[in-house]
Symmetry: C2
Subunit: 386 residues, 2 copies
DNA sequence: CTGAAAGCGCTAACAA
DNA sequence: TTGTTAGCGCTTTCAG
């Protein structure tokens, strides 16, 4: 199939109409409500479409129809700005296959793994859920990963092109969201700040952490302490999880003194540090194994996986000597050794419900602000024992 | 920040122009080439934009400017059509947190894991790469997962809305691609069929598998056999990998008789079956451990992970009794026990290069058909020993 | 530096 | 059933 002369302008409704000997309105009808057109005419038009290679312009359709049929999903960035420009020549040139020996390291990691593996698995699922639901409802999905979330980017590049927007980022200033929300429905995938009028869909971080913590705190060995590794200070998710943990501490009547708070950042590297530090702390007094905490509760999975790594490296037995828990339920927690006890967030449902919420508001702009909280599931696995 | 009366129509350039006391042309200039406008005027317009909550219409801009500033990525579907409609009430209602005990199973899996985990990790990375690169070039990215890849969907819902399209699916009929390619640049993320004129970006499946296979075939124990587990018959990727494997067999001078072909389907479940069957085969003649193959080379990671699972369940030692390899380099291969030797495809680079290729053609439609092959890396890990 | 005006390609009344 | 005709909101010459 020869490529048509690329200089030729793409055909429009007018071309198709002329070719089929009908008016542009009829062409439009054949595309949108075929039943309103006599079968004979219809097939004539369709033939012209094929012959001319006609593809309707989404832009024109969007303009005329006042809706784009596209939903937007705004995710926290991959930090692409920081990323160096790849060496394209080397990338596409080398015919030599490189052999990387990854045996012997505790666990393969940097070698050939994905570069930006840290936060993404989480968002990928949200994206997938949103995509599926949007499609089912007849919408396309546009994705953007926040680059500094500058006003220009969000407003010009996304908001103007979609009928509704789901924002998964505490990084977008409220004021900006408010601006956008004046034009299209915006749903925020996080807990609502008090006072904001936007629609929100979130996950029950607090109750989830509380349920998990109550369970693992229940049979704590005498006298041993418990460490909670938090996330970044500005994370609402972390705040909720921490609150849930505190709820549990209170509920089981644990003495505050036995609980220690360590600040983390949701990253795996920091988890390793924390784990190593805990081991070192014991090292100073190696005789007493009890100097290791009996339990390390982490505010997210990446942190917990880092802790696990540090423990394995140091030869600390999990769950024998210490128990460890995470939060999120990313895939890697199933494959870690030991498998990580965690709280699984329904990421894909988050995406789906976000889409639903947008569509609901699209259908009825007068709706009161929506507040949906999705339940979570506690997954008890090897890292907390039998 | 009170939500503006949603009944009020969204403001347009005209509104902004009137409010700022300038013409619409000036408003447009402030947005696109601010330097062409006197600073004083500029800030007046900007103030109006903020005050009115103006968000430019992407559709109108696209129409007028003849380019949408959006690139499309078409992925194989999540089989969303088959998926049942979730029970929304239950989804969003339940306040009770469920505790799922996953200890004791060989490996946690269905319980809380992602539902559609099979093929996706692969695509997620391509998506991410494409997104990053598109953004860097000033384009937004629209994603679509093929639903039956019906003509209507691809043509109407995607092709018409984007300036260029990357298609990651052998499932899209050539004829359809050709149609779309008459309007916008289309790059196919797979090897080129002979004779097609589209741009292609692919990964060196054959050389990668050959390099891997040559390495692991090198020190094969005497007399033991080798099993190759293929992918689906219609997969070009599988064909290439198989060819690479055959190359290696020939290169190391292995007798054909020692090589056995088993048909797989790229799925983990099938991998488990194959693994179990191999074990059972040995079972019939349990005395001779040699009845197990010395090496199982799988056409992709999912299959290999399934095989690994089956072996672990049966108490077969990997790499002690059998060695196993995969292909793709998905994240899970790092976490499996033992870590899986595999060939890592540069998925994110695939996405990036796809975007670059589209833009190159956009810039110069007269370019000859592009054929880029990305190199791969062989990752030697525990599943093939030291 | 700013304004006027002509489209961009399509949809949706309204007529015929 | 089909055609005519306004726009949809923005960009972009071309004048001024």
């Amino acid at each position: 199939m020869p490529r048509k002369d690329p200089v030729t302008k793409a055909p429009t409704v007018y071309d198709v109409a002329a070719h089929a000997g009908v008016s542009i309105a009829t062409v439009s009808r054949v595309l949108r409500r075929p039943d309103d057109v006599r079968p004979e005419t219809r097939s004539r038009v369709r033939a012209s479409v094929l012959e001319l290679g006609y593809v309707p312009s989404g832009a024109a359709r969007g303009l005329a129809g006042r809706r784009t049929g596209v939903l937007g999903l705004f995710l926290p960035g991959h930090d692409a700005i920081e990323e160096p420009e790849p060496d394209w020549a080397a990338l596409t040139d080398a015919r030599r296959i490189e052999l990387v020996d990854e045996t012997g390291r505790g666990r393969p990691s940097e070698g050939g793994g994905p570069t930006r593996t840290s936060v993404s698995p989480y968002f990928d699922e949200v994206l997938r859920g949103a995509e599926v639901e949007a499609w089912r409802r007849g919408f396309a999905l546009m994705v953007a990963a926040g680059r500094g979330s500058s006003r220009e980017v969000l407003v010009n590049d996304i908001a103007g092109r979609v009928d509704g927007l789901a924002v998964l980022a505490s990084t977008v200033p409220d004021e900006l969201l408010a601006h956008v929300a004046r034009r299209i429905p915006v749903v925020v995938l996080a807990d609502a700040h008090p006072g904001d009028q936007l629609d929100h869909v979130s996950v029950d971080n607090r109750a989830g952490m509380r349920a998990l913590a109550e369970h693992v705190l229940a049979d704590l060995p005498e006298g041993r302490r418990v460490v909670f590794v938090s996330g970044p200070a500005d994370s609402p998710d972390d705040a909720d999880r921490h609150a849930g943990f505190d709820d549990a501490v209170r509920a089981v009547g644990l003495q505050e003194a036995r609980v220690e708070l360590v600040h983390g950042d949701f990253g795996r590297e920091r988890g390793r540090e924390v784990g190593a530090a805990l081991v070192a702390g014991r090292g100073a007094d190696a005789g007493r194994a009890s100097c290791l905490p009996a339990l390390v509760v982490c505010a997210n999975d990446q942190t917990a996986l880092g802790v696990l790594e540090a423990f394995r490296t140091a030869g600390v037995d999990v769950p024998g000597q210490v128990r460890v828990t995470g939060f999120d339920g990313i895939d890697a927690t199933r494959f870690s050794v030991p498998a990580l006890t965690t709280v699984r967030q329904p990421m894909d449902d988050l995406g789906r419900v976000a889409v639903r919420t947008i569509l609901a508001r699209l259908a009825d702009p007068a709706l009161p602000p929506q507040r949906v909280t999705l339940p979570v599931r506690v997954l008890l696995r090897e890292s907390t024992g039998g």
